[in-house]
């Protein structure tokens, strides 16, 4: 998703946040006028609600008196269903079990684009909050008419409305008598005051975890439609290889149970009624297909850092402030360093899966895509169908952490289903499909140079980043669907994806008078797209490692050095909270604690991270023992959800930092399994501790990504404290520790 999650049109809330009166810790911050009236009047609607203002697009009153909330977002394991239910239950005075949440489905729920960028609370949950609050007003108005009284004489509790002092009650369904609320949501809307919330802000348990431990069918991988067949896709040996010949007859003779071979240009898939037979068919097909070599030779053996800097690049100035004329002086006050982050993968534990059925002119698809509507538009164009003839239902899959193989696997399933009208097709990628064909997070290089003034503060800062795109999400463009490249009428991936993610967090969130930030966009050798936090992880790895290097040069404590350059009180609060969390932590010989800070996208959540590492000087092994995070994500919807996401961010990003690098030869990706692309295991994961600073009166800023951002820098800074080695190249190489 382009742009930022920050919505400047939340003008009153923005005003509140700019007052600067800040309560540090875990208490409630409330502006004076909220106390007076117990409600907040807001002056603009959340974006999703402006686009889809009808109440019944968001809320359905069920016959049994419960309420169904329709969201345009997807459950990715972040617990969005629970968070949205909490918001709706509080505004409508329902018990939590009286709310059910329907995930994104085309033609059924609002179109809210992608479930990405940590924006679901700010967009979807806030739209639900306003819609539910407006529905509450409408329901009270209707009840007042029914009983010929004033809304002020009515009470609403546990999904029922009653008159003060009277026993008679009405459920919402009884009041509406089989109809729905179809009004357009309009301002003014009275929102509940945060101090009256029963659910929002609390650590409400997710109900789907019990379904998981009971092995209920909750994933797209678990869908079983009557008569469903199993398909597998047969990928070429390289991105640009073409199918030259395939002896279908000889192949079919060798494969028991084969139902169909689907060939469309260089797209090849096999179908069997038995899943294992489909898997065997894929193995045999791989041997029978003759492919052309790739016309593109990947830069195997070259230093990727050097290679990507030499690629043709579109350059843009991200920021210029003051002048850097005085930066280069031979007086020993300047410092310069270069950093590198390799290609890394989403690495979902469950390979992507799609189920599709083409029936009576409509294609039905079940997918765990993060962007069901944009995917629908791209898929319809690829297949030459009207968008209304493609119906996609969002069903959870394995965690994705960005744009992984979800859309592509569903596209593969759709292509097979189109060739087998009336038959439901389940197509799951094999492990090597996911490892070798998902779109990776781009490799990136970062150069930083800075100057300290007499007082040891940073006066000048020059930064440059080299990166490929960070989004090739479907976005309605069929060229972004992997299978489309291979069709007999192929589509071409758009040349320039969304590059903004490449310089995300490239501007330091510190007070530095003279700055220049440049970004260089290249088109690299591997397929790339959005991976959790996009370029922010690599940029903050560079910025916050370099802040540590500067602190050393200035002979300052790294935390005090950061505080001395910080002006935003919320930033100062999380850094100080982190300081408090680690103040009694002791380190042994060969151990060190490092810290780093970022405000995600420079407009979203604030996060300060510390890592404690143990370094083995002889083997070069680095073990991350413990990590801490202090987070301010604005209003907390589900406290345990935020903590869970942040714990996961720390561990996943520690894994990226310590171990992960996509590797390739001249033709193809060679890291095709968990042996060649290992991730952290139990014996290696740190213990983690998260503190959340809650700000109930400020907009929720999302917590799905903020924790990954400072993690690499915290770890390498800890290594420096442990043994004086400065790591600037990821993943951490044992040779650099011993060398």
């Amino acid at each position: 998703m382009k742009g930022t999650t920050y919505n400047p049109q939340f003008s009153r809330r923005k005003f509140i946040s700019s007052l600067g009166c800040l309560t540090i810790g875990f208490s409630l911050f409330r502006p004076a006028w909220a106390e007076a009236d117990n409600v907040l009047l807001e002056d603009t609607l959340p974006g999703s609600l402006r686009r889809e203002p009808r109440l019944d697009a968001w809320l359905e009153i069920l016959a049994d008196g419960r309420v169904r909330v329709l969201t345009g977002k997807m459950e990715l394991g972040q617990g969005i269903r629970t968070a949205i239910a909490q918001v709706a239950a509080d505004e409508l005075d329902l018990n939590l079990d009286q709310v059910e949440v329907h995930l994104v489905e085309t033609g059924r729920t609002p179109n809210e684009g992608y479930t990405a960028g940590s924006g679901s609370m700010e967009n979807s949950a806030m739209s639900v909050r306003y819609a539910a609050a407006y529905a509450r007003q409408k329901l009270l108005d209707l009840a007042a008419q029914r009983w010929k009284t004033e809304p002020g004489q009515l009470l609403m509790a546990n999904g029922k409305i009653s008159q003060k002092g009277k026993k008679q009650t009405l459920t919402f369904a009884q009041l509406l008598d089989g109809t729905q609320l179809k009004d357009e949501v309009k301002l003014p809307i009275k929102l509940k005051s945060p101090d009256t919330y029963r659910y929002v802000g609390k650590a409400i348990p997710r109900t789907d975890i019990e379904q998981m431990v009971r092995a209920e069918a909750i994933y797209v991988q678990d869908l079983r439609l009557p008569g469903m067949v199993h398909a597998r896709v047969v990928r070429p040996p390289a991105y640009r290889s073409q199918l030259q010949s395939f002896d279908e007859k000889a192949f079919a003779e060798k494969v028991p149970g084969l139902l169909k071979t689907v060939i469309n240009g260089s797209f090849l898939a096999v179908v069997a009624s038995d899943e294992y037979q489909a898997i065997q068919a894929r193995e045999v097909a791989l041997k029978h297909a003759l492919w052309s070599g790739s016309p593109i030779v990947l830069p195997e053996g070259e230093n990727l850092d050097t290679y990507i800097r030499k690629l043709p690049a579109r350059s843009q100035k991200v920021k210029e402030q003051g002048t850097l004329n005085d930066l280069d002086q031979a007086d020993g006050k300047t410092l310069k360093a270069s950093y590198f982050k390799p290609y890394q993968m989403h690495g979902s534990i469950g390979p992507s899966c799609g189920v599709a059925l083409y029936k009576e002119g409509t294609l039905h698809v079940w997918s765990h895509s993060q962007g069901i509507y944009p995917f629908r538009d791209a898929l319809a164009k690829m297949l030459g169908l009207d968008a209304e003839k493609v119906h996609i239902t969002g069903v959870p899959g394995s965690g994705c952490y960005g744009h992984n193989g979800a859309d592509d696997a569903a596209t593969d399933a759709a292509l097979v289903a189109m060739a087998m009208p009336g038959t439901p097709v389940r197509l799951q990628w094999m492990r090597d499909d996911e490892h070798a064909w998902e779109p990776y997070g781009s490799a990136m290089c970062m150069d930083v140079e800075a100057r300290l003034d007499e007082a040891g503060k940073i006066s000048h800062w020059r930064y440059a980043v080299w990166s490929d795109s960070h989004s090739s999400r479907p976005g309605g463009n069929p060229g972004n669907l992997l299978a489309s490249w291979y069709l007999s009428k192929p589509f071409v991936p758009p040349a320039t994806g969304y590059f903004g993610g490449g310089f995300r967090n490239s501007e330091p969130y510190y007070n530095i008078p003279n700055q220049r930030i440049d970004a260089h966009a290249f088109e690299g050798p591997l397929r790339v797209s959005s991976l959790r936090s996009l370029g922010a992880y690599a940029n903050i790895f560079a910025v916050e490692s370099f802040m540590d290097e500067l602190a050393v040069k200035a002979q300052k404590d790294p935390i005090e050095f950061r505080l001395a350059h910080s002006t935003d009180e919320r930033a100062i609060a999380v850094i100080q909270k982190l300081q408090e969390m680690i103040k009694n932590e002791k380190t042994d010989k060969n151990e060190g604690i490092g810290v780093a800070f970022a405000r995600y996208k420079n407009v979203a959540s604030y996060c300060a991270v510390a890592a404690k590492v143990a370094v083995d000087k002889n083997s070069g092994a680095v073990k991350v023992l413990h990590m801490w995070a202090a987070l301010d994500a604005g209003e907390v919807i589900n406290l345990d959800g935020i903590i869970n996401q942040t714990e996961g961010c720390l561990i996943q990003a520690a894994s990226w930092t310590l171990k992960e690098e996509v590797q390739f030869d001249t033709q193809q990706v060679s890291t095709r399994d968990w042996l060649s692309y290992p991730i952290l295991r139990y014996s290696e994961v740190p213990t983690v501790e998260v503190a959340v600073i809650s700000r109930p009166e400020l907009p929720p800023l999302g917590a799905g990504e903020a924790g990954v951002v400072p993690t690499a820098a915290a770890i390498v800074n800890a290594i420096y404290r442990a043994n004086g080695k400065r790591i600037r190249h990821l993943p951490i190489d044992a040779k650099e520790i011993t060398g």
């Binding site: 037979q277 561990i651 399994d673």
Partner: protein, 155 residues
């Protein structure tokens, strides 16, 4: 070549007509409609497909179903008590909210149940070692460790 094979799964005898070379995973998922074991890697390195085989936590993605004669198989479904009550490990996962996407959870619960069968009061290191074959990408490891500890304490 397909054959009739009789398997002992979750306390019941089940006869399936299947090629004996088929890995157990696909028989459990597709012939017996069980959701617990999940396909993850196909080479026994991620643990998503784990089941209890004669009480041991074993991957099911490679082992041919033909080798299951006489062995007792319990899947995540069978770990739930017949009256629907959760096993202490399952209950602890819910209490600790030890999941994000939950795709790996099957193997995690299976591995933990097997571990606690052999070691009633494992220390942290033993739990980590016992769970080391299971991968999680969401980073819920520390919650799962707490859940296993809680299950051990409450059992």
């Amino acid at each position: 070549m397909e054959k009739d094979l009789t398997l002992k799964v979750n306390g019941k005898s089940r006869t399936v007509r299947v090629d004996p070379a088929t890995p157990l995973l696909y028989v459990l998922r597709n012939k017996l409609q069980l959701n617990g074991p999940k396909y993850g890697c196909g080479i026994e390195v991620c643990g998503a497909c784990m089941v209890l085989m004669d009480g041991q936590a074993m991957p099911s993605c490679r082992i041919p179903v033909g080798e299951m004669a006489g062995r007792t198989i319990i899947t995540l479904e069978g770990i739930t008590r017949p009256n629907g009550e959760l096993h202490p490990v399952q209950r602890a996962f819910v209490q600790e909210q030890a999941a994000q996407c939950g795709y790996c959870l099957n193997g995690m619960v299976v591995a933990a149940v097997a571990l606690l069968e052999t070691n009633k009061k494992p220390d942290d290191e033993t739990i980590r070692a016992g769970m080391d074959r299971n991968l999680c990408r969401c980073g819920t490891h520390t919650r799962i460790l707490k859940a296993v500890k809680r299950a051990a304490d409450e059992a």
